[in-house]
Amino acid sequence: MKRLRWGLIKRQVAVQVQVITLNLYSLGLFVIQPAVFTAVGMLLSHAAGNAMPDLVYNVIGGGIMGMWSGLVFTSTFDIVDDRRTGVLEFIVGSPTSLATVEAIRTLTNVIAGLLSLSVAFIAALAIFGYSLKNVNFWGAGVSLLLLLFAMWCIGVFLANFLAWSRMSGTFVDYLEMPVAFLCGFMYPIRILPVWLQILSGILPIRWALQAMDESLLGNRDLAFLITHWAVSIGISLIFLGITSWLQVKVHDNIRVSGELSSI
């Protein structure tokens, strides 16, 4: 049973990687768009009279933007394409649940998003001479893992909406910027008004990202990091719990109505 699952994961990941790499749009999502956002941050910084951009928020933050955009749009287009080409019905009808397929796909999309972060990080090191001297490596590493986990939880949560109804897909499409804005992908969350900071607290990405940014800036305050990690894990698990509950509803709904391709 375990070998079968591992085989499924390997096969699904391989297919998903091919889908991503053969689609030129992925290049735009994972590399060009984050580069544009980074460039806007740098030029705004230049226009404000700064000699150097903020490397953690303006440069590496652009990579986070790419990770998120990549996740939202690749996951969205996967389902939309499945629906358009009629593959969604086969997936729902197959012995492997839609939830499992979506979980593996989303995992691949999240890991593919690391390309954005890597490019941004390499740019920060090679082009701008970002110093690693003060970086809290283990703090940044743990935070990055939790950031990936948080993105995966949000990704599978959103995938259910897309399978449920094409109209909800419209809603998911427009989540890219509100989440980027609320989570402070390219600026510290503290500059937002307090009520927006409270609102952003419902997103696990915000907590993991804040811990990662602070670690990159050299914060070694264990209490601060553990609190942020714990909150991020807790909210991610809540999203996962809601997803599990929703999956049953979505499956029932699409099987009972029999209108998968038209909803």
Partner: protein, 266 residues
Amino acid sequence: MIKSLVHSLRIYLAEAWLSYHGRFAITSPFGYIASKLGFPFFLMLFFIYLGKFVGFTNPLYIVIGNVLLIPAANGLNGVNLAIADERQWGTLSYVLGSPAPRLPIFMGRALFYILDGFITALLGLGIAALIFHLDLSKVNFWMLVLCIFLIAITSSGLGFLFGSISLVSRDGWMILTTFVSALYILVGVNFPVESLPPMLQPVAYGLPLTRGIMAARLALQGAGWGVIGHLVTGEVLVGAIYILIGYLSFHLIEKRSMASGTLDEM
């Protein structure tokens, strides 16, 4: 002669309505409003806080720039899709096979996107004025209206061009979205064109929108035709060149596809 003109006008208006209706008839009200105002609003907020963080002390510059980009995004994306979807849905051969004159068919696709972008930008400006307390006491209203309308028209020229590219390339949408992203940098939306590296400034002035956005900013400060006339004229000229290139590209692609018979393989 008059009969021919009326015929072309009828095709132009029918094409304009069908193209717009075909795109938005199945969209929910939420999707429609979100696509018009939702994304630009949150993008603007993102840039405002990014600017605040780096010490850019004029957030209203970003607000106005992003509102002025609304008609451009509308013209670019809408017109591009109105053309490119023909290929995606397999209806391009019917369009090219029909005896209708090409000019009204091609130009008609932009009409409602231009009007839509223009109205949405005015609405966005009103909302931005309420939220961000824009000082509109000095505004030269009719000059501002002219500039926004002009931006909507000239950006449709880019839409025609990218629509034509979409007819010959499967990655047309990716090329367009990359270009639209580049507009956040190049046309003076978030910071003045003078803040760009010197090598990018000629590129900025070679694009529609740059002069139109500059003129609209001046009109917001009360400038009249004497001050912004040269910018408006430049915007008209650059926009006309792009519309012409877009139309000629479409014509060229049509001729090539007729000769090679490879329309559906493109």
